[in-house]
Every structure is written in structure tokens, then in C-alpha cells.
Symmetry: C2
Subunit: 376 residues, 2 copies
């Protein structure tokens, strides 16, 4: 199979990831931070080492690296932890449902109000679009680092500056950013960065991270046993315990450590160069194919994650993806859980076929994909 | 090492669990329910097969088997999903912080009020303790199937009858029940049963289940992409999608399937007989040891999960556990994230040393533990 759905989850995983995660199933299936016996302590140390790796990658203190089941859970914890009754939230028009659904739910419950600002290829226009919607009660801006459908990346540092200047918290959905777009999120001024461990960081599935700057106070959405302050029915007020109730995904987290090592060894700049090269090549070939419909400029001409969307002939996106799938090529059709982004690009009815390579995608994969497409 | 901390997480995991979970890291790291390509569809089928296994075990429809990161998350989803402003909750005095902390948090936020009913070895007294605290606005009873500290099991079926009779929802924390105490929770009348997949079901860590009866309407605490109804910013209203936003733990879930198979092959009655035999033997020996302090009757004399708590000489529970750990025996000291239970048994200052065997614990393990303890 030619796998071009790496924005969903990268595949294959590096051998080091599979082997670390597999070994952890055997050697580190112990409750970390609870037992006093060697195996439990060793497990805690192994997990702490991954916090340190994530800390080095994202820029936040190791104890502020919170492990979650997925980026969605991290985003829910961040958004719902930060806002209070009457607050106003700003989100972009390219958000994934992992952002738009929790925000919309809060609004429907009468807790917050929110507005949607428009992405623009021109950064100054984009920034203006944000500033013009800030209200006195705007408490939070939530923005994806890059669209999971069209690749468009947001100027995170500039948005962070606006947020800071206006006393607004800034949460970034880095699901399509971490490991692909080089950025020290903490240095960029992002208050909370939510990450999917199983995408650009090549970790096993069920590994998410909520990484937060020091001193930020959040309400919890999940409370429970932490092995700390156990006599107290209040959730501990220190990290990571406050946000890590119940048992962790030891095997996944330890595998994620190997994934971060893999990414660090390759270098995010090199990974981005390789993957943007892949999508730019595909883009250019599709551009010459009269049957292909494209929706963005070339991914080399603007800040973009290595993701492109297209449609073919008058086929529905599902038809194209199914025809490709039947010929051994995995892409993703439909709305990609991002209805706002499709509305922004006018593709909400048809959806798109999405192409997202990984560091393992080769030039040969591209040729097979392009040749197969031509014959559909 | 002699591992007697199986209430935290069972260890070792059966080889079939490790091998299925490991293989899944390689073969089923695809987004289930999203892609139309064969690997994604195969992954969905594999995961659905585990829903069916859990369905057969717990008694709920397969689509109402919701996979979560852990039992704690399942309990938070159940409790917070069911109650509204002004509701009253009843919980037992043996609850784990996975129940008491979310309930107490809801109370501190002014959303609900709650009372704590007392466990009693006499079921009629226990049932009276519950009935006497029911109020007109009691919406929910939450109760552990068995104490994670002292083993004491609750008469789930009788409590379910009371709940039904009074129009009250009933949520069971089956962290220490599933796989150890034979019960079809749906048939018993439990509205929502929350399970830890990595304890008595021998699955990998980061596998929890919220299993619910059909027709129950719950608010969500986490929303996000589900690969379904994507154009709608409201979370889907059908299961399991409503409660499974974001990527799942494919490897863990598939490993859990092997764990459920393992338990089914062994038979829960046989597992319970073996493990209760182990703790009863240890209990009887400790009873004859003048240095051991015990807190319950013999686990064969009342309905109990295979868990006992003790202390030794005038040592703190941590000292005893650390001395044992230094000699290769893993137990768990302290409060076991269950302060209410320790208050109930008067052990909140000292904590206890907890012994919890698994199906792999042998008579020889008991002898080594008992001989080692004698020399402390």
C-alpha cells in the first residue's frame, strides 16, 4: 500500500517506536508514581524521561508536559480549563472539530460566546482579522498551527503577541504542526500547546500532550486518583498530577519517546523539506492534469504544512478515494472533521481528497499515485 | 519479583495480550472509522470485535461499549454526563478518588450536593444506609463494585433495584470487579458500568470502558472529531461516536480483546476462586502472626474482591512496603487513592499495605511473601 493519510496517523511507525512500545508492554506495565517497588519507580523514570524529551521539543517545563489520550482531549482540557462563564473565545475558520465542537458546545450551553476569524494568505490581513474581533471579554484565542485539510499555517508568533498585548490566553492545536513545522511553542508565546503524539512525532496512537506555560491556572474536566495528596478530595494543584488522573498509557508514552528521538535525529527542518517537496511535486503534477481540482496555491508559495487537498473530474471525494483505495493507495476523503475549513474553501458539499506524506513517503510513491490517478 | 499489586494493574500480562497489542502497533496503526482504505476498515473491524467481546462480558450492546483512556475518565464521563444543576448524588464511603474527586469537584463548583452512605458487612444494613439518604432530588448513585483497599463488595443488584424503584441512575465503578467478580452488569440493572481494561481484564494500560444501557442520554465532557456527522458542530448523538472523540488506543484495545478472551477462557469464577484462595491463605497466616494488623474479617467470610490490607508491627505502611520491595516483593502502601475507605476503617493516618494477587500468583509466591514478612 502507498499510504498518504499521515495527517490521520503516521504509518509506518519507526521500528524503534514499535520496539520500545512493545517492550514497555512487558517491562513497564506498572503504575507509575504509585508503588515504592523498583519496577514502579523505573516506570516513573521512563515516563519522566519522555516528559523531558517533549519539553526539549516544545519548550515547556517537563512537569508541564501533560500526557492525554489524544490531542482532542488535550484541547478540551485546555479550552474548558481556561474559560469562565461570560467569556468570549476567538477561533479560526480552519479549525478541526477538536476545537470547534468543544467551543460550540460551551456556547450552546450558554457559558461562552465565540467568533470565527478568517485565515488569509496575507499575514497582515489575517492579523487584522483577529484584532478586529477582539472584545473586552475575549479570554481565549484558539488556533490550529496548520489546517489539517489545506495545510495553511498560521503565524503563531504574531498571534501570540496580539494575545499577550490584550491579556488573552492563546491555545494552539499543534496536531498538524508538531514534528513537521519547526517551532518552540513556549518561546513563541503560546500558553498551551496541544499535540498529537501519533502524527508528526511518530508515536503510537493514544498519545496526546497538553503542554502549558508555568503558572497558568486551569480548572479540570477530569479528576481522580493521582497517587498524590490522596487524603484531599480536591484535585492536586501541581503539574502534571493535576491533569493526569488515573493510569497513563505507559507503553504509548515510552513509544512516543522513541518517536521524538526519531524526529530529533532526522531534524524537523529536514522532515519538512522532504514532505513539502513531496506535496509540491504532487501539486505541480496535479496542476498540469486538467481533471484535477486544486484549492490552494502551491504549498511552496505560502507557509504550509505538508498537506494538500484536491478533487478529481466530477467525482465525489469519496469516489476518488475509494477508487484509489481499491488500487492500493490510501488517501482520506470527505470533510476530515473540519467543516469550518471546508466552508472557508467552498468544499463543504463535496469534501476533498487529502494527501499527507510522512518522512517515509518516496518519490516512487508519488509516481504510483499520480499514474494511478490518471487512469481513474 | 513477587508482584502483589495487581489491583493497580495486573502484571504480567498474558503473552497473547502482549503479542496482539504489539502486532497492532505495526498492523493496525490506522484511524478507525475514518478512512475508506482496507487498512482503516480492517482496523475498525478489529476494534468492533473488541466491543463485541466486552459486550458479551458486561451485558451491554456493542455500540454502547465506549473506549476511554482509563476507568477514571469513564467515571468522569458518566457522572458529569448524567447530573444537572441542583441534582443530589449518593456515593459510598469506600469510593476511590476516581469517584470522590469528580463528585466533590461538582459540589465545590455548586452544581450538585452529595452524601456518603456507609458500607456494612450486613447487606440489609447497607441497603438501609442508602435508602435513608435518598432525597427527592437524588439523581445518581455511584458505587464501587468492590473496595480497592479492603475488598468489600457491594450488593450491586440490590442497589440497582433501589435505584430503579426511585428513578435514580446507578453508576458502578467496576475497576476492581470486572474480570474478578462474576456479574452481567446490564442484567443486574446497572445504568453505566465503568471498567479498567488493564486490571482484572489483563489488557494493556490506557484501556478503560464506559458501558451504558441503551437509551441513556448523557452530556459530553469531551467533544471533537468522530469521523461522523462532521458538518455538524454538535457532537453526534449516537454511540459510540458521541463519547469517542479523537483517535483511539488501537493497540491497547486490540490487546484488551486478547485479555477478555484470556479471562473468558479461564472463567471468572475460577479466577475468583484462585485469587480468593490466595488472599484467604495469606489472611489466615497473618491472623496467626502477632505482628500483623488486619482490618476485615477473612475474605472468605463476606462478599469480597481478592484484596486485603494490613499493617505490620508499629511500622508505617510505607516502611513495611519499602522493606518488602527491597526484598523483591511488590505491594502497595499508603492510601491507594481512596481516603474515604481509609477513614471508614480508621487507617487514614497510617494507610495500609495492600495485597492483591492475579491469576498468575502462586502458592509459592505466598510462602515467600509470608517468610519475608516474618523477618522484617
Amino acid at each position: 500500500m502507498i499510504y498518504l493519510d499521515n495527517s490521520a496517523t503516521t504509518n509506518p511507525k519507526p521500528l524503534s517506536v514499535i520496539s520500545c512500545a512493545s517492550l514497555a508492554l512487558k517491562n513497564f506495565s506498572y503504575n507509575s508514581g504509585r508503588g515504592g517497588y523498583k519496577q514502579s519507580v523505573n516506570t516513573s523514570e521512563k515516563i519522566y524521561a519522555v516528559r523531558e524529551k517533549a519539553s526539549a521539543l516544545l519548550g515547556y517545563d517537563a512537569q508541564n508536559i501533560i500526557f492525554t489520550q489524544n490531542c482532542t482531549t488535550a484541547l478540551n482540557m485546555a479550552v474548558k480549563g481556561l474559560v469562565k462563564n461570560g467569556d468570549h473565545i476567538l477561533i479560526s475558520n480552519l479549525e478541526h472539530n477538536a476545537v470547534s465542537r468543544p467551543v460550540d458546545t460551551l456556547a450552546k450551553r450558554g457559558i461562552i460566546t465565540y467568533n470565527i476569524f478568517e485565515y488569509d494568505y496575507d499575514e497582515d490581513v489575517l492579523i487584522h482579522n483577529i484584532i478586529s474581533q477582539i472584545k473586552p471579554n475575549t479570554k481565549l484565542i484558539v488556533c490550529t498551527h496548520a489546517s489539517n485539510v489545506f495545510g495553511c499555517a498560521f503565524p503563531i508568533k504574531r498571534i501570540a503577541e496580539i494575545a499577550q498585548k490584550n491579556g488573552i490566553c492563546f491555545v494552539v492545536d499543534a496536531a498538524q504542526g508538531a514534528g513537521v513545522l519547526e517551532m518552540n511553542y513556549a518561546d513563541a508565546g503560546v500558553d498551551i500547546c496541544c499535540v498529537a503524539g501519533h502524527k508528526g512525532l511518530y508515536g503510537p496512537m493514544a498519545t496526546g500532550i497538553m503542554a502549558m506555560r508555568d503558572g497558568l491556572k486551569l480548572d479540570t474536566i477530569i479528576e481522580g486518583g493521582t497517587g498524590s495528596s490522596s487524603l484531599n478530595l480536591e484535585q492536586p494543584d501541581f503539574n502534571p498530577d493535576r491533569f493526569e488522573a488515573g493510569s497513563l498509557n505507559n507503553s504509548g508514552i515510552i513509544g512516543l519517546g522513541a518517536g521524538i528521538d526519531f524526529v530529533s535525529r532526522k531534524g524537523i527542518k529536514n522532515i519538512h523539506k522532504h514532505e513539502i517537496g513531496i506535496v509540491a511535486y504532487i501539486y505541480d503534477c496535479l496542476k498540469k492534469n486538467p481533471n484535477a481540482v486544486l484549492y490552494t496555491p502551491s504549498p511552496t508559495s505560502f507557509k504550509s504544512a505538508p498537506i494538500i487537498s484536491f478533487n478529481y473530474k466530477d467525482y465525489s471525494s469519496e469516489k476518488t478515494a475509494n477508487l484509489l483505495a481499491a488500487r492500493g493507495i490510501a488517501t482520506r476523503a470527505g470533510l476530515h472533521c473540519a467543516p469550518l475549513a471546508h466552508k472557508a474553501f467552498g468544499t463543504e458539499k463535496r469534501g476533498t481528497v487529502r494527501i499527507s506524506p510522512s518522512v517515509f513517503t518516496t518519490q516512487n510513491d508519488c509516481e504510483i499515485f499520480l499514474n494511478t490517478l490518471k487512469k481513474l
